[in-house]
Amino acid sequence: MYSVLKGASYILAHTPDMVIHNGTTQTTQRTIDPDSEYLKNLDKSLRSYDECKAYLPNQTYIGNITPDELAGYAQPWYQQKSDYIQREGRFGEIMPEDEFIGLIAICDVFDLVKLESQFAVSVKKKLESHSLIDPKFLSVFDKNFELSEINGFIADEHAEPLYYGGMIVGCIKAAHDIDHSLSAHVIFENLVSKASCVLSLLHLIDKNHIGKEDIEYVIECSEEACGDMNQRGGGNFAKAAAEIAGLVNATGSDIRGFCAGPTHALIHAAAMVKAGTFKHVIVAAGGSTAKLGMNGKDHVGKGIPILEDCVAGFAILVSANDGVSPEINTDIVGRHTVGTGSSPQNVISSLTASALEKAGLKLTDIDKYTVEMQNPDITKPAGAGNVPEANYKMIGALAAMRIEIEKSQLADFVSEHGMVGWAPTQGHIPSGVPYLGFARQELMDKKINRVMVIGKGSLFLGRMTNLFDGVSFVLQQNSGAGQEETVSEDKIRKLIAASLKDFAKHLQEDEG
């Protein structure tokens, strides 16, 4: 019996100060031209927390607006006024930067995060009223520092400053004097990733009526690496995040595959659950500081606010078949293999048509494709075009080449089987997974029959191979075979009874 998609959570943390100080576009610019106009005027292009909350794609990400509703608003969306301004959403929340810094401090178990006294007091007060933060963690805010001490750590010990509202409110120290893998910069990135992963886990548990103790395994699939100089990517973000989230019965591991990571991880999770190894597996990832403001130069140059101002996270619960939730059909899995090559038609064909054909399905049999769901507000001004739309056009073009549709129906195919993109450009975050929360609902409401989840990854960025990568699978309505446990118990009893009867009959016949 297939495993099921039991729940999904999505969170954002609004981090404008990290855009300035930690996004690689900005840090690189600071290295080559610290006096550039771009850096000088950057803060004028940053959005306030309220503006960030009211941004329609962000409200879609946390579940308050559906993709269909978002598509009803004219683009660009940053120019649209919105009635949706809530912090809380059906799938998660949009956390302000000060609280997120507080969460980073909570996630630090090696005493590397140092917060300034006044800031620590105010953050403690705010997090006290956060329903998902265990009060036992709040004592970290009682041990804090004067600004002069923090400035000392930054000046003398290469600590990375933590800013809020343009002011230094703390710092993150290096975990080793010499080891680059434990530098303040790496620890900063890793704690941000961990904290956003933890928040996603907390929302997933909160919103899906499952006990923390029921989770047996967590797979983390971000694009960061944690370890020391002897094992730079040793891991294990999954277990580290599970610890803070209180998943006491879970172990876990990290899976990497650039932006394709989440889809790889979901296939692993689905297989583990289908095999009966575990009943509840979470696939989760936090976000990336490096990608904050990645296309900022293009945005500022065109008079657009910096739209890449949020660290994102998500968590997906894969569970044993409950008879209701959508099934993860692991018999329809697309793979970009070593031999596939890099021509766009081979890539998209390996991920869609080839897998579907084996199952006797056509491209048009999939109601919705969830691809790289990047928000076009961000990518279009940066010259990357409308990424999800380009993906849908490729699938449509493939359908036309395979004569499943007429070439003239390409635009219809894109609008029928596609969606607008709403996810922040945080690499693995937009890749297939942002739609899973909505997909679960739409499949359970029987509005659609099948969804194909596609993850693609640019492996060549790591300079170990020139290859591209991708995997895909199909999500389908539950066949309604009922709960695995009750069915099997009942069935087993009947089977035993039947075979005993049979056996008795044989005995009688033999004797007779």
């Binding site: 610019q29 130069k297 021509s343 766009p344 998209i348 010259g383 990357a384 490729m394 449509g396 070439k407």
Partner: protein, 96 residues
């Protein structure tokens, strides 16, 4: 690289997803980096530059290979827009 091979012997071929990005990349290799930040800042190379979807390239490439590698993207990309941007840049800056 332009120095090593002689700029007249070099052709730059782009695969950008849309016209403006193609134009920007083309401008960088012909007129220098318009954002004044990249490695080619301030250097006016005037190199010959085309997008992989332009007919000048397509006509010289083995058609079977082109079909396999690129043809589907002709349906996806706005080739007319890309071509327009590219020829504008070429007319203005290309020296070869």
């Amino acid at each position: 690289m332009a120095e090593q091979y002689g700029p007249e012997n070099i052709i730059v071929i782009l695969g950008a997803a849309e016209g403006e990005a193609a134009g920007l990349a083309a401008e960088t290799v012909t007129a220098g980096d318009p954002t004044f930040a990249g490695p080619l800042a301030g250097v006016q190379l005037g190199l010959k530059v085309y997008h992989a979807c332009e007919p000048e390239i397509k006509d010289e490439v083995d058609s079977a290979v082109y079909d396999e590698q690129i043809s589907m993207m002709e349906m996806v990309l706005d080739v007319d827009d890309i071509r327009k941007e590219m020829s504008t840049i070429r007319d203005e800056y290309c020296k070869f």
